[in-house]
Structures are given as structure tokens and as C-alpha cells.
Symmetry: D2
Subunit: 331 residues, 4 copies
Amino acid sequence: MANIGVVGLGYWGPNLLRNIISSRRSDKIVICDKDPGRLSKIAERFPTCRKTLDATDIFNDPDIDAVVIATSVSSHYPLAMAAMKTGKHVFVEKPFAEDTKKAEEMVRYAENNGLVTMVGHTFLYSPPVLKIKQILDNKELGDIRFITSNRVNLGLHQKDVSVIWDLAPHDFSMLFYWLNEEPNFVEAFGHDYVLKGIPDVAFINLGFPSGAIANVQVAWLAPSKLRKTVIVGSRKMLIYDDTEPNEKIKIFDKGVDILEPETFGEYQLSYRTGDIVSPQIDSFEPLHSEMEEFLLCIETGETPRTSGRSGMGVVKALEIADKSLSAKLNK
Amino acid sequence: MANIGVVGLGYWGPNLLRNIISSRRSDKIVICDKDPGRLSKIAERFPTCRKTLDATDIFNDPDIDAVVIATSVSSHYPLAMAAMKTGKHVFVEKPFAEDTKKAEEMVRYAENNGLVTMVGHTFLYSPPVLKIKQILDNKELGDIRFITSNRVNLGLHQKDVSVIWDLAPHDFSMLFYWLNEEPNFVEAFGHDYVLKGIPDVAFINLGFPSGAIANVQVAWLAPSKLRKTVIVGSRKMLIYDDTEPNEKIKIFDKGVDILEPETFGEYQLSYRTGDIVSPQIDSFEPLHSEMEEFLLCIETGETPRTSGRSGMGVVKALEIADKSLSAKLNK
Amino acid sequence: MANIGVVGLGYWGPNLLRNIISSRRSDKIVICDKDPGRLSKIAERFPTCRKTLDATDIFNDPDIDAVVIATSVSSHYPLAMAAMKTGKHVFVEKPFAEDTKKAEEMVRYAENNGLVTMVGHTFLYSPPVLKIKQILDNKELGDIRFITSNRVNLGLHQKDVSVIWDLAPHDFSMLFYWLNEEPNFVEAFGHDYVLKGIPDVAFINLGFPSGAIANVQVAWLAPSKLRKTVIVGSRKMLIYDDTEPNEKIKIFDKGVDILEPETFGEYQLSYRTGDIVSPQIDSFEPLHSEMEEFLLCIETGETPRTSGRSGMGVVKALEIADKSLSAKLNK
Amino acid sequence: MANIGVVGLGYWGPNLLRNIISSRRSDKIVICDKDPGRLSKIAERFPTCRKTLDATDIFNDPDIDAVVIATSVSSHYPLAMAAMKTGKHVFVEKPFAEDTKKAEEMVRYAENNGLVTMVGHTFLYSPPVLKIKQILDNKELGDIRFITSNRVNLGLHQKDVSVIWDLAPHDFSMLFYWLNEEPNFVEAFGHDYVLKGIPDVAFINLGFPSGAIANVQVAWLAPSKLRKTVIVGSRKMLIYDDTEPNEKIKIFDKGVDILEPETFGEYQLSYRTGDIVSPQIDSFEPLHSEMEEFLLCIETGETPRTSGRSGMGVVKALEIADKSLSAKLNK
């Protein structure tokens, strides 16, 4: 059992809270938002929680074991450091921090003081992403050659961060988890169409120590969502499309090698060479599994799948990508 | 009417030949391949054509008006120059030449001597590509923001050129045609998995004077073809999937702007905002239309849609992309 | 405002209850189930509701205006009649009654006594079904010629009713609503594979006074859901696939009439003749809209979209189909 | 080797002819059409064939071993009988004959006189249909429970036969081949929208001795082709969609049995229970394989896969279905 404080009750806070409550692993939960109206509204929905307008109340409460931080990115560092300095374990929404230096300090402090840090890379708790991890770990695709990923989103623009900081954390966290490594090469290209200085489309190249490479496309403002990841291995290829209801994952077997007379395949009938398999995927709520992981790691002291250290790796790559893109924009 | 010599009877030569014959715009056709076996085999299929093992016979034949060159890339330049120097118009398979310098010399010679040059960017004669051109020219999508394109191919490796020279001519020729401009920024990243020094996967970034940007992914050796181009404009988005039998083009209307509370859309029900329209596309053979264009331009002296000059633009971008990729590989 | 009793707290009861509460149109709600364990469990979830083990308590409560009945089919008639005899309006889950005679008696009693009766044909409150109704009413497809519908379900068998009574109410209610008429011809064919005497697959033919015809396929026990309705009109065709996330409805325009040389079209390239449009569909919860309709009709006295009378029409067709199938099974 | 006469040079005749020639199993080929213009046109395309306006010339030619009949349905019987009476083997386009009585006489004559009869049910030579046969014979789906098939066609109406005689031969021949049995129950329902007396849409129910049942939907005049066959077995389900380019066949595994609380699955997330596999399918031209089979059976005396007897079974079912539908239409 662990007593939890939840700081920040915008979109994610209440969702995390709901899952903490349903996990039945917490006796005492204190919620906090500096906006009184928002705080009352959420407190009404969750009448068993205590409430406060000041996060310091939570940090100073000796009953509280851990703090869940779901505030804006720039406040992750000060809130997490303050919480850790009063001995609390911390869960921080993604991205973990606004720059690598702050992320490193957070991780170092936690590791030196035996505290659990975790970052909200929720995709790493979603059934298709875990299924893919299992397929890759089993070497079903052979050696991984390249991965392409696109994430083109509906809806409106962020006003303060680039599309890289907004959307790429999803892809980066998945890629690094699947490949079990962090990139040693990152570059990006893109454009700022709507608000000058805030890139709204970006193409990011990543190279990894194993030799695998990746291309990640992120963009806002499209009229339809695209969510497609292609993983090409030496033996098979996998396509993961999160907008598909029934066949989110498809594995394409190479089958027998065939020799095409020429590469201009447009006039050839065959579009594939082997069987295609769409494995069944379990169905559970990622957020619930994520909160279970945090609460369990607090109890056992184990390192969570999405540790602060892994969150730091993502921040590092985001920072390099963002700088690479900005440098080209300003030319 | 124009009399035609066809040099090179591998995969493309006979297909071009078949369409020249069916156009009924040529009285005399001479075919040439330096491989006697191949020459006889094709001559048998097309008994009305004369044959020769030596391209010089064609160049020296005063009856011949134009030469169609469908040989390996490295012979495009010497054959085309030799043909033009005997006053022949030339059609050259893609890519137009193996480097920009040679392409420039070919174009300059042709323009100075009033000769038609054309390059075999067949896609620019295919119904869906033309439909998209019409949609873009009508400003149906608004201002073009970005284009992503992937071309992941079945089948075996080329042994002498990178995947950029093999597959990117298709995407480049389409992009430059649709946007009506050539890029002022080109960079690439990729890897050489199978044969060292021959990149088999490449991610290419392109920037254009209008502000549009593009990301082109090309790769060999996948077990299933991917052919998807996404064009995002300020008003609508278009997806072109050449592997779809019925709905090759889909246009996504933005509809009413909606405000999402947060960007982590995975838990939101809506995947789109407006109507989707898949326009009807005419059905005709691109190669036939391509040969018609060549024969017509010879008669009228007009500049073909896929002029040598446009082929030169593609070669220039290929060359820069290839060098950019090689520089990173060798690091 | 209307005070409501909810009888039957299996799967549907609590869902209806949740939407009655969220509509905020009821002051007093009494819930009832004869299973004490189930009653307590639901009462815990909805602490503002009173509870009783005996539906008679609800019928005799003069504060209660209307009763929602979500029990097994055989109890619809006695419960609804008892409720109406104490002057309550009634909502009955689908199918409205177990035979036409009982349905008629229920409707007659309600109409003679000025009571609202409504049946839970929830699909008629779902956004795509309403969109199709609007398209058909606008004569966008021309005259309706034929409709085919399949509903092949995952999961286990009912033990007491045939697949016709279980699944066909959905299709029948949609068809009759869209066409604005009830069939004058019904026949069915099918089989009882798992439990003798309980058909688990059925093909139902329907003829309508307007000349439209329909074929409805219903089945249990398949490993994947199928939900596809095809509506062919004299001018256009519409396909409604409820398992599609993004394009639930597609409208196929005939475009220009083309003449095919022969009907064996397998070797022809063209699979369609005109544009395809997938209209945007609103997003709201059908059950909520359904309960709103019931509560509103109680207040205004208007006839609900899914009136008891329309429920009776569905029951009549189900009964004839079931008998037609049984007669063939027993031969 | 066999010498062949081809009678009827409309749409199918020339296609069959082309494949007979490319099989290189015939020395002498005589072609015949009573329309002189059509005969000359085809003779020009195939200069190695002799030509005649009168089929009797072919029947009386002692060099000719077999006759391919690709004329209108009503002439199948007189031409085939005349050919057989001069000792020729016969291939007849589908449907085999215009009624069961004539079909029986043709089969009886052939069997009594040791002649090969074959019918042009081309689908039984197409790769996906053969793949399905293999899957069913291996009992991969378990026991076959039911099959549904729809065939909704583009394009124009036949003026002389119902849609049943035009399109159902495809489905019937496949069903009987896959199940290895002919139906003992056939009934149909439909309508004649465009030309009175010529049904243009039909729904056909079939029952088989094994207990399997089927529902076949055939229709003309839709703006987009539909071609979908669903085969539900006791263990797995197979979907065959001939309009799909890459995944014509999908096999749905039931996986672990799950218990759904209720059957109204619309509000459940799961649309499937197990893996989905799309097997690779060979690629060859069905017509070529069909002609090979005919020529081989002439040489060996073996019974072709699509024997006259199997064609007779299809005719019998067509006749019953057509009468069943007409009886309902005239009511």
C-alpha cells in the first residue's frame, strides 16, 4: 500500500487518479491543483480524496509516499525535485523534463536517494506495443533493419512547444524500448507553418548503435489521424497501425525469395511474397497498468519499465532533434 | 509520323516498343540490342521491325527521326549524345543520366539544336498522378504544407546503384511535377545492410522555395510493397496509395475545426473531422500515353511533360541526396 | 421531470440506469432485481437510487411515472402490463415481446390509456443509422432497390431463443425505420448446429410494399464480427460497416454508365464507376439519446421514434421468420 | 497433342483461343463465327488459325479432336451434341446448358461414347479458389457450417437471362467444388427492377446433405463490385474477397473461447478472438490452367475438374433457384 499525492488536475491528472483509486493499492490520496474551480470539480467526482491548493502541503505530509505530477512541462523539474527532497517517490507525465540537464539532475537525485522515478510513457503499457516487444525479443523478424513511424494528429496546435516535444515522446519511447537502446545519431527537418518559431511538422532521423535506423514523422493539424509504424527486419516485416480496430499488428513473412526481372514493380501483379499474420492482442487499459506498475515499484523498490532514466533518454533525443530542426529553420 | 529506333531490349525496351507500334504513329521502327539472343527473341515477337546489333546503324539511318534509349544508366549519356549528334530526338529511360553534369550537357545540346529530349518518368502519365496534379492545381487542398512518401519494394537488390537512384526517381519526379518547382534543400540518411557501400534504405528530406517540405522513404527487400503518399494542405489532406485497387486517392476534408482538450488522442473516439472523398480515376495505360507524348512532341516540336530538363532536375536532387547519405555512412 | 423505476439489473439495466441519471431529468429513481446480490451491487454503484426486490413496489409507488423493463423476454409482457395497469409509461428492452399477440395487447392497452410505450432498439439512436436515414430521406440513393445485411457475432450461444430473436431485431428495426414501412413478405432458412432446436444461423428474406427487398444474415459463434449493410438504390449505393473505425458509411456514386463487353468481370480492371464519399458522422452515445427520448416523450406525450407499435412490427416479422425457419428445419 | 475447333468468337472465344495457342498442345486450330466481320478480325490477330463461318466444317473435319464452344447459352446444346455426334470432345462455356434435361442428355451421350465434356467454370482454376479447396480438404476450419457469398456487379444488364443464370454459376460451381457435394435444397427470392420478368437481384438459399447451408446474393447494376465469400466452420472462419489485392483470403482463428456477458456486442471493444492469417496465394492465369486441363484430359481420357457432369449439377441448381424466384415474383 502507498499513499499518493496527485498534483495537476488538467486532462491527465484525473485519469491517473481514477486508476490509482481503482487499483485499491492506496489508503490515502491527496489531490492538488492551484485552480480552485478545477480542484473542487474533481474533488466532487472523487469524494474519498482530500484536496489542497498548494502542492507543498502534499510534500510536507509525512503520510504521503509518492507524488504523481501531471502539470505543464516546465514545472516538472521544480515539483519533482521538491517532492523528492521530502523523500517522495515521483511519477512525472511525459516528457520527463524540459531539458536533458534537468532530467539528469532528477534521475541522479532519485538514484542517490533510493527513490523511484517514473515517466508517463503510457504507450509502453498498451497491449499492441507490448506484443511487438515480445515479437522483437523473440527475434521473429530477424535483425531489425529500419523502423518508420508516422504520427499525424487531428486538432489544434500547442502554443509553447514544437511538435517534436509534443508528439515524438510517444515514438521515441516505443523505439528505444523495442530496440533496447538509445540513438547515437539524431537529426531533424521540418517547418513552422502556423506559428513562426513553433515547428508543426517534423521528420526525424535516428541511428542506433546496433545499426538499426529510424525515421519518425510527426505533425499537427491534419484532418485525419495517421498512426503507422513499419518495422523491417532481415526475415519479416511488421506493420502496427493504431487506428485499425481489428488488425493493429500485421506480420509479413518474406516467404520464398523471388527474383523480379526489374525493380519497377508497378506493372507486376505480386504485392507480397509470403503469409500475413495478424496476432490477437490482449485488451486492457494502459493507464491502469501504468499506475499499477508505479504503485508496485514503490512497494518493491524495483525499477519501473518507464523509469526516470528511460525518460531522460527520450528527453535527450528530443532536445537534439529540436535543436537540429531549429538550426535548419533559422537558416 | 516519326520513324523510331529502340536501343536496349531488356525489360523496358520491349514495353516501350509495343506501345510505339500500337500508337500507329511510326512507319519504320528499328530495334537494337547488343545481345544477339535477346535481339532475335524480341524481333520474333515484333516481326514488322527491322533489327540491328549496333546502335550506330540506327544513328546513321537518315530515315530515323528519334531514338528511344532503354539501356543501363551509365550508357544513357554516350548513346543519347551520339543520337543527338546525328540529329535524332531522344527518349531516355529514367534516371535521365548518371550525374548532373552529363544531364546538363545532354539538355544543353538538345536545346541548342532544336531537338526533343524526354525522360521515362512513367508515373507522370499514370491516371492517379494526373488526378492529383489537377486537384493540386485547383487549390483544392489549399496551400501545400508537407508531403510524405514511402516506396518500400519487394524483391532483390540492385548491385550497382543505391536505392536512391533506383526508387527515388519515381517520387522526385512526382513531387516536382505536382509542386511545379524543384527543391532548394536536399539531405538524406540511410543504411547499407546487404551490400556494403550500396544503401538499401534511405530517408530523404526536401525543402522547396514555396515553403513546402517533403520526406521520401525508399527501401528494398521488404516482404510487402508499400506505396503511400500523403499530401497535407492548409485546407485538406490527400492520401495516394498505389496498392489500393479501388480507392487509390482519398481526400480528407478538415471540416469544422474542433478543439481537443489534449493532444494524446489515443483515448479519443474521433479519428477524423470531415467528409472523405475518393474521386473516380480514369483508366488507361501510362506507357501508351507516354509514347504518344513523345511521338507527338517530335511532330509538333512542343516540350514534353517529362522533358530532358525536368529529368535533369531529378538527377540533380538524386545526386545531392546520394552524396548526403554517403557522407553519413562513411562517418 | 419524471420519476423512474428500473426493473432488471443484468447487463442492460445498469447501462440504461446510468444514462437516466446522467440525463438529470429524474428526481426519484427506484431500482429492482429479484436477485438480492445483484441488487446490492448495483445499488452500491448508484447510491442515490432506492432499491427493492419486488417490482410491485415500483408499480404501486404513486410517485413513479414510468418503468424501464430490462428483464428476460418472457417477462416483458407481464411486467409491462402490470406497470401500465398502475398507470405507468413503459420502456421495454428489445425484443418488445415474445409474440405478436402479446405485443399487440401491450400496444393496444397503452394507446387506449394514453401511455407511452417504447422499445430499446438502440441502433435507431446511433449516429451512423441516423445519418443513413437522412441520406435515404433525401433520396440521395434514388429509389431503394435492395438491402443486404449481415450480423455475424462473436461469442456464445443463447440457450433459449433462436439467433433470429437474438440478433435480427437490430436489422429489422433499422430496415423498417429506414424504409418507413414494414414487410409484406418474410421467409427464412437456417440451421441449428450447436443445440438442436435453437437455430444459430439464419438467412431471412423480406419483401416490402414499395418493392424494396432485403436479405438479412444472422449468426452466432464466428471468430470475428461482421456487421455490414449494403443499400442499393437506383442512383447510388451505400455501404455501412459498423466495425470500421473511420469510414462507417461509404456512398458509391454510379457515375457515368459504362458498357462492359461481358459480365465476367474478374478480368476487368475497373471495380467501380464513380466517386466514393464517406460522410462525417456525429459522435454521441446512443443509449443516452435513447433515454433522453423516453424521458422527453413522457413529458410531452409524443410518440417515441422506437414506439411500442414499431416494436410490435419487429416482433411480427421475427415471429414469421422464426416459424418459416422452424418449418424447414423440421422437414 | 490435340487439334481444336473454337466456335464463337465473342468475348470468351478469343481468350480461350489465346490460351490454347500458348499451351502449345495443338497443331491445328480452326476458328468459327457466323459473323464474317468478327471472324476476320480475330483471324487477323491469330494468323496461324484456319477459319470458317460454318461450325459444321469443324465437326466434319476428321483432323479435329475437340471443340470449344463459346456461344450463347441456347446454342450450347445443339452445337455440343452435333460435335459429339462426329466424335469430338467438347468444352462448353458456362452455364453448361439452358436446362437440366439438355445437360443430362449431353452428359449421358458423352459418357456412353467415351468423350470428354468440360464446362468453363473458370473460377475453379483460379489460385484463391484452389487455396480454399486445399484449406477445406485439410479440415483446417473444422466442419463447415455455413457459407455466404455475394456477387454484386458493375455494369449493364443481360436482356435474356436472369441474374441467377448470369452470375450464380460462379458461386454454385465454387460451393459444390469446395463442399464436394450438390445441394438437396434450393430456394430463391429476388426482384426484377429494370426489365420486368428478368430478375436483377436474387438471394438464394442452399442446403446440402452434409448439413452445411449457404446463402448466395447475386445482383447487377451496383456502382461498385462486391465479391465476398464467408465460410464458417466449427473451428475457424475464412473470408475470401476477390476485390482485395493483397489479402484475398483471411482465416480467423477462434482462439480461446470467451464468454461475453451479453450478445449486444456493439459496446464491446473486442471484434475478434484469435489470430488472423492471410496465406500466400500463387499467381497464375486461370484461363490458361483451364485450357491446359481440357487439352490434357483429351490426351489422357481423365475426367476434368469441371466435368460436364459437374456443369450439369450447377445447371440443375440454377434451374430450381430460377423457378423458385419466378414463382414468388408472379404472386
